[in-house]
Subunit: 336 residues, 2 copies
Amino acid sequence: MTPSARRRSTVHDVARVAGVSRGTVSRVLNGGYVSDAAREAIEDAIRAVGYVPNTAARNLVRQRTQAVAFIVHEPHAVFLEDPNIGAIMLGTNQALSEADYQMVCLVVDSVRDTERVARYLNGGFVDGAVIVSARAQDPITTAVARLRLPVAYVGHPPDVDAAWVGVDNRGAARDVTTRLLQTGRTRVGMIAAALDRDSGTDRLAGFTDALGDRFDSDLVEEVPLYSYADGAGAMARLLARAPDLDGVFAASDAVAAGALWALREAGRRVPEDVGIVGFDNSSWATRTSPQLSTVDQPAEGLGAAAAASVLAQLQGDESGPDGIILDTPVVWRDSA
Amino acid sequence: MTPSARRRSTVHDVARVAGVSRGTVSRVLNGGYVSDAAREAIEDAIRAVGYVPNTAARNLVRQRTQAVAFIVHEPHAVFLEDPNIGAIMLGTNQALSEADYQMVCLVVDSVRDTERVARYLNGGFVDGAVIVSARAQDPITTAVARLRLPVAYVGHPPDVDAAWVGVDNRGAARDVTTRLLQTGRTRVGMIAAALDRDSGTDRLAGFTDALGDRFDSDLVEEVPLYSYADGAGAMARLLARAPDLDGVFAASDAVAAGALWALREAGRRVPEDVGIVGFDNSSWATRTSPQLSTVDQPAEGLGAAAAASVLAQLQGDESGPDGIILDTPVVWRDSA
DNA sequence: GGATTTTCTGTGAACGTGCACACATCGTTG
DNA sequence: CAACGATGTGTGCACGTTCACAGAAAATCC
């Protein structure tokens, strides 16, 4: 009953107890010819000594870890607010899980983190990576490229050529804006956000497409983040500048929720006075009143597709397409 | 210019190029006596061959990984909705980052995940773990205990004795309910949630404490999750059962936000007709109108404290207290 | 009944690193 | 000048596993 067991037990211990050699123990674990008698003795011995394989040693010789990194590189506030990231992560986790891979999520929140994560990737802890919202000149991107680590980006790829999955932000933005116009709105504005990223610029471009020659730059307000607070502030400024506004396309549901609050503060009724549409179909969309009309961005699907791409590369399948675009149906609810 | 480099370069390559032995290369990396000439030659060689230490090999011999797991075990919906988890995670990440440890987040979303994560921990990928919302009979808890892995739980500890950090849920619930009563409310109810967990039961106990002999079990509605949807449903049922209700303590801000929606649907004004308080002081609290009075749960602080505890254990410091309780000031806003 | 295949097992060599040890060279000291 | 400490370097072993190989025993075939 002495619970000593200072040292972890190894294959050697199992072999000694079972009265066989290391090789045979390895074979019962990894497959190969082994007699029933030996197998039974070894399985008993494994239980007896409480043996668990040391994965570091296994990885060292196998040159793979059965783990894939999920790297998220977002400013503090967005990470906490944006339910999309969590959904993408769960999608990735589930897809990897089914292939018996371990997802390892790494958060980059400072320059220090960036360098440490790059080191981590270099260190051979993972076989591949799914990267959300990468920056182009990132040490992480560099490390990934140099190591030729199988990778899939969620969102537009940076300069390096690599697999990626995304949605047609521009087309979806055009569609949803068009439907807003078709309901009779004549003064339609936009709250554009995150213009330092392709998703931000593409959504703005889609809005511009839809308006055509009716486009009025006075009706566009730009903010840095896909956040509730930025949405609320932008809406207030937009109303001050264009009181006759009767429609708004918000670059994300969080932004739309903030805008909704600002509209109510200003005494406007939604959708009677002003129609508003969002983007993402995140949990925000059904939590506001009225509920948001929005673009359904299949966040979990994005995560799963990225994982599938990495897994395919790990299988040595180079044939897959570089870019995968998922569908984004418009969900029509009450806000417009 | 041939970008071949099929194989990763090792210390041997560096040593060969620099014209020294492996040992000397190891010394310039890990410290020790080495001449200026040799150091310079080796540093040049490292750059020339693009050498990066193989961490798996290093871990194998050093028996540590400089990484700590952050394990989150939550049902799908809560994970996406609850900003607390993200905040705890960022707190942990920051504290570990400062000590040059890599945080590795593992998500448990299915039984399959549970077993794989237990294997991962067994495999020696990490030196310790911070665990959020563990279940008592969990294979993960078992694995952690058997491995004697340095660990800190966020929230009440399970049966095993181990370090943990948390808040005084009962005391805070009592405080916030008391202040609700002091503003003249006479029919105060509660939406209790997550009674399968200590945080859930403790908050209910605090509420009961505060009411004393004024407690009326008709005014308590129980729901499974700390979620917006559960809050909205519970509020509707509570109103149907007790139309004269004039105060509500919701077990979390998300629940309170849902309840707020249901109150508005029912035509009640907040705080005039009904006062409501939440718990967490998460981003929900400032996003509703009116903004929520609530208990400030220092989520990032919890994550940081848990990380600090694990780091202390890694330093061999066994003296730290088993349980750490952080302060939870009441934040008074407009909803009550 | 010998040749061949199938089944089973043990041994040695990796994987890439860190560390203890031995050894060599210097300058200093008594 | 012998003895010593400080500085610099190379070699062997260990970490715990997998895998290739060789060889033994059993089963199958012509």
